[in-house]
Structures are given as structure tokens and as C-alpha cells.
């Protein structure tokens, strides 16, 4: 265990704030993209890249590096921003996101830039890919670990549960899944937990509200029991508490015989008041005015 000192916690929080500013600037410059789910996982990525992963930005193909796999490929802006702050790419490149001629594709593409492990953008495939890498590590007698970040949407996909089952079956204790559990998806609200309007009765199976958001798309509850029943060690935390995240990730490292999942309770759009818990910013960039306001909040 490596306890985080107050001083380094402050540094990490400042790092995370820079990442959030990048996310806003990048998506605003692109005029499209996915700010909400990028902001929600920013702290998880900072905990990983700044404190947990064994990696070398100057040697992204290092065979013994820990692997980070982003299953929710639409959070690409967050990954690029963290990688830039770590030195994988120049920070100036970030605002070329999604532009022709830039290597910063709309969704992650393996090797672009070097250090991106998996091509993603179609949900549900990351945990399987991570399991493949984890099995290879064991076969080759290597001690690198694999971390896979999943979103709510990933957990809608049947393939994720195939991988959940298979990872426990193969006792892949070198594999850690982290769920960015913000409970908001493309069309609206996963369940009722983040839906504030209680005036309507909670309908079974979901419905579409006045704003055009689907409510109760697919509840994942009880999530902790599901993973535990599949044979995983389950840890839960506030997904914006860097110190707690680091503690959980450290605990996962020391666990033998089973993979670990960290259910990170997060807020979609975290850090920008008008994006928080707002499905409208799942797949929509801020306008220049909105970006200005967001950056003022993130000052």
C-alpha cells in the first residue's frame, strides 16, 4: 500500500482539473464528441496514470508495462488529455481532436498515439480484450497488470458478462475492472437514481420524458451482487475521491485467485455544473459560450 500524502493529493487534484479543462477545450474545438462520460472518468484515469500504472511515456511499447484498456471508447478525450499531461503527446495536439490529419481519432484507435492499447468505440469488448492480455501475461510469466475501464453502457452488452464469467473462471487476478458508474447513457437515465423528477410514478421498463430523455433504460442494480455472484472481488468507492480510488486499486493488486472490480460511483459531466447529471452532454460538445462558462468553473 502506498498512502497518498496531502501534498501529492493536491497535485493529483490539480492534474485532474487540468484534464477536465482539456476535455472541455478539446470537445469545444472539435464541435462534437463526448464530454459527459469523459469528465465522469477523469479522476479514475488520473489515479491510474499518476499513481498505479507501471508505464513509461517515453517507451509506450515497453513489454512489461501495465495495460490500460478503455472499453467505453467514447471517453477518448479523457484518455488523450491524461496521456498528454503524462507526456505521451504534446498538450498542443489535444485541440486537434477529431480533425482530419490528427492522430486523435474520435474514438480510440490502437497505437494512435502509441500507448493506446485497444481500438474501441463499440461497447462491450474491452474486458474481453483485457482478459486476453492478462492470460498472455500469465502464460509468459510476466507480472504486468491489466486495468479495464467500463461504463454503464458496456454493462448493458452481453459480451461484458461473458468476459466477467470467463475472467473469474480463469482466476485472472492480474485483471482489474473499474466501472465508471455514472448511471447516464446516450439516451438518458439508466435507472431512477439520478432522475430528479419524482412527480411521475416509476414505470416498469422505462419511458421517455418531456425533454426527450429515456428514463430507466436498463437498470444494472443490484450491481455489486451481480459481480460477486460471478466470482469477483467487489470494491466500491466514490469515483471522484482520488485517495480512495488509489487505495482500492492498491488493494486489487494484492488480491490473489480472483479478479477485482471497483464500482466507482461517479457523476456524469463532473466538474461543470450544467453538465452534471445531464444526459444532453453525453454526446454533445459545449458551444464556445458554454465552454467559456465551464472553464471559469474549472479555474
Amino acid at each position: 500500500m502506498t498512502p497518498v500524502s496531502d501534498a501529492s493529493l493536491k497535485e493529483l487534484q490539480a492534474f485532474a482539473k487540468r484534464v477536465r479543462r482539456h476535455i472541455v477545450e478539446m470537445t469545444a474545438a472539435a464541435g462534437c464528441g463526448h464530454p459527459g462520460g469523459s469528465l465522469s472518468c477523469a479522476d479514475i484515469l488520473v489515479a491510474l496514470y499518476c499513481h498505479i500504472l507501471r508505464h513509461d511515456p517515453q517507451n509506450p511499447q515497453w513489454p512489461d508495462r501495465d495495460r490500460f484498456v478503455l472499453s467505453k471508447g467514447h471517453a477518448a478525450p479523457a484518455v488523450y488529455a491524461v496521456m498528454a499531461e503524462c507526456g505521451y503527446l504534446p498538450v498542443e495536439e489535444l485541440t486537434n481532436l477529431r480533425k482530419l490529419g490528427s492522430y486523435l481519432e474520435g474514438h480510440l484507435v490502437a497505437g494512435s498515439p502509441p500507448g493506446v492499447e485497444m481500438t474501441s468505440g463499440s461497447l462491450g469488448q474491452g474486458l474481453s480484450f483485457g482478459l486476453g492480455q492478462a492470460l498472455a501475461a500469465r502464460l509468459d510469466g510476466k507480472d504486468y497488470r491489466v486495468y479495464c475501464l467500463l461504463g454503464d453502457g458496456d454493462l448493458n452488452e452481453g459480451q461484458t458478462w461473458e468476459a466477467v464469467m470467463a475472467s473469474a473462471h480463469h482466476q485472472a487476478d492480474n485483471l482489474t475492472a473499474i466501472i465508471d458508474y455514472n448511471r447516464i447513457q446516450n439516451d438518458g437515465f439508466c435507472d431512477y437514481s439520478r432522475y430528479e423528477d419524482k412527480s411521475r410514478p416509476q414505470r416498469i421498463g422505462g419511458w421517455v420524458n418531456e425533454k426527450g430523455h429515456t428514463v430507466n433504460i436498463m437498470s444494472l442494480q443490484p450491481l455489486e451482487e451481480k459481480w460477486r455472484a460471478f466470482g469477483w472481488q467487489v470494491l466500491e468507492t466514490d469515483g471522484h475521491d482520488l485517495s480512495a480510488l488509489i487505495g482500492m486499486l492498491d488493494k486489487a493488486k494484492g488480491t490473489k485467485g480472483q479478479p477485482t472490480v471497483i464500482i466507482a460511483h461517479t457523476v456524469k459531466g463532473k466538474g461543470v455544473s450544467f453538465m452534471e447529471n445531464n444526459p444532453a452532454f453525453h454526446g454533445k460538445a459545449p458551444t464556445p459560450e458554454q465552454a467559456e462558462k465551464a472553464l471559469a468553473e474549472l479555474a
Binding site: A110, M118, S122, F129, G158, E162, H169
Partner: protein, 315 residues
């Protein structure tokens, strides 16, 4: 004449074992059909390199992509209806787009899978696999060529699809044959008409050529096992030299051999053609030889098609 027969799928397990013993860093991911595809034989010899994932084709393909990303040569196999059929997105995103070193073996392809019925008969797998940039698509004609194709795939970096079949089909080659990526094989020379065939239909085309010979027609037979990359030179030479083309495949006539040959000829050398294959329909249960007859995938129908194309060439 005595013909040897063997199922092309029987080449998979033994070839992988040999190649591993020769030092290739091969691993196998399996979705509970390794007994049928013969991949399980590899697992018997190299248990630490054999990863069962249950009946979960999507997971199988993406796990394979992860293994390949660490430098492994990964083989996955199942029935061709299930892969690509059940995990096409995973193949596209996980293997094709990043160009991962995964070799997909689709076994039990075509209507000759037989008694299990349409749900087990892949007749659209080639359409799907030919649609993926960067994938090499191989349809061996017999078990000898299958072993060679597996070795070429294992020793060539990048994605491959190899199509195998369930029943024992004629062995047309001996060890002197050499499968070459991107090359058609002239299974029989001829100057009047060319039948281009893949898989079990190569042996049917050879039979058809015998029938045509007895009628005074000199029929060339090209084995188009390397469906992608296609031997464009051999296709154009056949068009130039024989002026009449028949394609024959145990697959829909849309999106497979017929389509790629027609597209090639349309671009370079329009030539009268006829297509033997499944015509926009699914087959039913039955013995494989009965099914080939019923759906017109026979030597007689190939010969008939050859004569009709010849008539158009002359007309």
C-alpha cells in the same frame, strides 16, 4: 478410380501442434467446439496455451485480440455460422481495424454441413469476411491444402479467415501441391471455358471438366483458394484465353467468389459468366451429397452452365 476423402477441418489441430513444436508462439481460444474443429487436439498437447471461454463467440474473438496484442499468434475456431456470424462486430473492431494477428477458422461451412440444417450451414460467411479490409480469406479445396493454408496463415502476420468443412470431401492434392497466398492453382488446364471454384466445388469442377471433355469441350479448372488476395492475373488470363467463365461455390452467389470474379472482370475484361452456388435461399437438412444435388451444386450443373456460357461466347 479410388478417391481418398478427408474433412478439411481435420487439418487444424495437428497442424497447430506441429507449428508450435517448430517454435511458433501459437495460442488457441475456444468456444466449446474445439472437438468439432479439431482445435482441441492442440489443447491436449499444450494445455497452458489453450483457453476455453465457454459458448461465447464474442468473448472468444475479443480475448483473441487481447492475446494477439501481446505478440501471440492466435487461432480461434468455431462453426462458420457463429464466427463470423455471431461476432462480426468483434472481428471488425478487434481484429480487422487494428490488423491483429488473429487467425479465424470457420469450420462446418456451406450447405454440406448437412443434417444439422440451415442454422448450422454458413452460406454468407465469405460475404462477411470479404467485406473486411486487411483480412486474407482462404477457402482450401482439400485437407492437404488446408494444412498448407494454416501454416501460411500462422507464418504471415495479420488477420486470416480460413474456411473449413465438416464432411469428408475428396482429397485432390498430394504433398507436391503448394498453396500460395494470392495465387490461383490451375487444377486442370483447358482452353475453351474456365470453371473457377473454391472448397468442395473444386472437386466437382474437376468432375465437370471430365464430362465436358467427353463432349469435346476443353475446360480449365482454377482453384481460387486464395479468395483474398485474389489472383487477378489468373482471372484475367482465363478470361482472355478461354473467353467464358463459370464460378462454383458452396455459398451464396452474392458476396462470395462469383461477386469478386465478376467485379474483377467488369473492371478489366467483361466476359460471359455463369454462377453456380446458392441462389438467395437457405437449404434444409439432408445428406451433404444429396444437398449439393438438390441445390444445383453438382458436376452436371457446372457442365451445363459451362455449355451455356460457351454458347453466349460464340453468339
Amino acid at each position: 478410380m479410388t478417391t481418398k476423402a478427408a474433412a478439411t477441418r481435420e487439418a487444424l489441430g495437428p497442424t497447430l501442434i506441429r507449428l508450435r513444436r517448430e517454435g511458433l508462439d501459437i495460442v488457441v481460444v475456444d468456444a466449446d467446439l474445439g472437438g468439432s474443429t479439431t482445435a482441441r487436439e492442440f489443447g491436449k498437447v499444450f494445455p497452458e496455451r489453450f483457453f476455453p471461454v465457454g459458448v461465447a463467440e464474442q468473448n472468444m474473438v475479443s480475448v483473441a485480440a487481447g492475446l494477439a496484442a501481446t505478440g501471440k499468434t492466435v487461432f480461434v475456431s468455431t462453426f462458420a455460422v457463429f464466427a463470423p456470424g455471431r461476432c462480426f462486430d468483434q472481428i471488425r473492431l478487434g481484429i480487422a481495424q487494428p490488423g491483429q494477428n488473429v487467425k479465424l477458422v470457420g469450420s462446418h461451412a456451406g450447405i454440406i454441413t448437412g443434417e444439422d440444417g440451415a442454422s448450422a450451414q454458413a452460406i454468407d460467411d465469405l460475404s462477411l469476411m470479404l467485406a473486411l479490409p486487411g483480412f486474407r480469406v482462404i477457402v482450401p479445396a482439400d485437407v492437404v491444402e488446408t494444412e498448407q493454408a494454416i501454416e501460411v496463415a500462422a507464418r504471415t502476420s495479420g488477420p486470416f479467415y480460413i474456411r473449413c468443412v465438416r464432411p469428408k470431401i475428396p482429397v485432390i492434392y498430394d504433398e507436391s501441391h503448394k498453396f500460395q497466398l494470392g495465387k490461383a492453382h490451375v487444377a486442370r488446364p483447358g482452353k475453351d471455358v474456365t470453371v473457377m471454384a473454391i472448397g468442395v466445388m473444386v472437386s466437382k469442377a474437376l468432375e465437370a471438366a471430365e464430362l465436358l471433355a467427353s463432349q469435346g469441350i476443353d475446360c480449365r479448372v482454377l482453384n481460387m483458394a486464395s479468395l483474398k488476395p485474389l489472383d487477378v492475373e489468373a482471372v484475367l488470363a482465363a478470361a482472355r484465353e478461354t473467353g467464358a467463365i463459370v464460378t462454383a461455390e458452396d455459398h451464396l452467389v452474392h458476396g462470395g467468389l462469383a461477386s469478386v470474379v465478376a467485379q474483377t472482370l467488369a473492371l478489366h475484361q467483361p466476359t460471359p459468366m455463369a454462377f453456380i452456388g446458392m441462389q438467395d435461399q437457405y437449404a434444409v437438412s439432408g445428406r451433404w451429397d444429396e444437398l449439393l444435388e438438390r441445390y444445383g451444386l453438382s458436376a452436371e450443373k457446372i457442365a451445363e452452365a459451362a455449355r451455356s456460357v460457351l454458347a453466349r461466347k460464340k453468339g
